[in-house]
Amino acid sequence: DVKVTQSSRYLVKRTGEKVFLECVQDMDHENMFWYRQDPGLGLRLIYFSYDVKMKEKGDIPEGYSVSREKKERFSLILESASTNQTSMYLCASRPGANYGYTFGSGTRLTVV
């Protein structure tokens, strides 16, 4: 089974801190994604990557950046965390277009 691992289940950070959320997949998938999930708003796409060192903005990229130096790892970076970034963050991967996603377990981030 494909496994997508997110490094932390729960995180609490202070406003202004730099935050790294890590995601690793073990099945050589080309595409990786970061979403945030908020009640009533569903999953909103932050950034995605279709290859190493390639990245593309999603629908809500402001306040976030990403890094994909190796195929298996896709990192989400909050340069200066703010309280409105308190959310559940979900990472996903898939082999390519026309395939479904495999999701990680999510990181619930609280910014205080």
Partner: protein, 110 residues
Amino acid sequence: EDKVVQSPLSLVVHEGDTVTLNCSYEVTNFRSLLWYKQEKKAPTFLFMLTSSGIEKKSGRLSSILDKKELFSILNITATQTGDSAIYLCAADTGRRALTFGSGTRLQVQP
């Protein structure tokens, strides 16, 4: 702008009831419609639908797609408390990323 709308947003039923969850979509270059179940953590894959009118089944769950009217339904028969979850649908245009609806939160009471 691609859009996926799910209804209802929330639903409470009793064990044994049958439920129907709805998903409509407006996307360019539609390729497939996917359903996921999310309990406490990672969403898990249920169905991928690409052709109109062909029902997909897995146990008590079934789903069908109508590409003319641009919607899909997910049916759950003889519901159990273990069916309590958020059900997500998403449209795939094959070129970017899945576009998700806001989800339907289903609560099945004993």
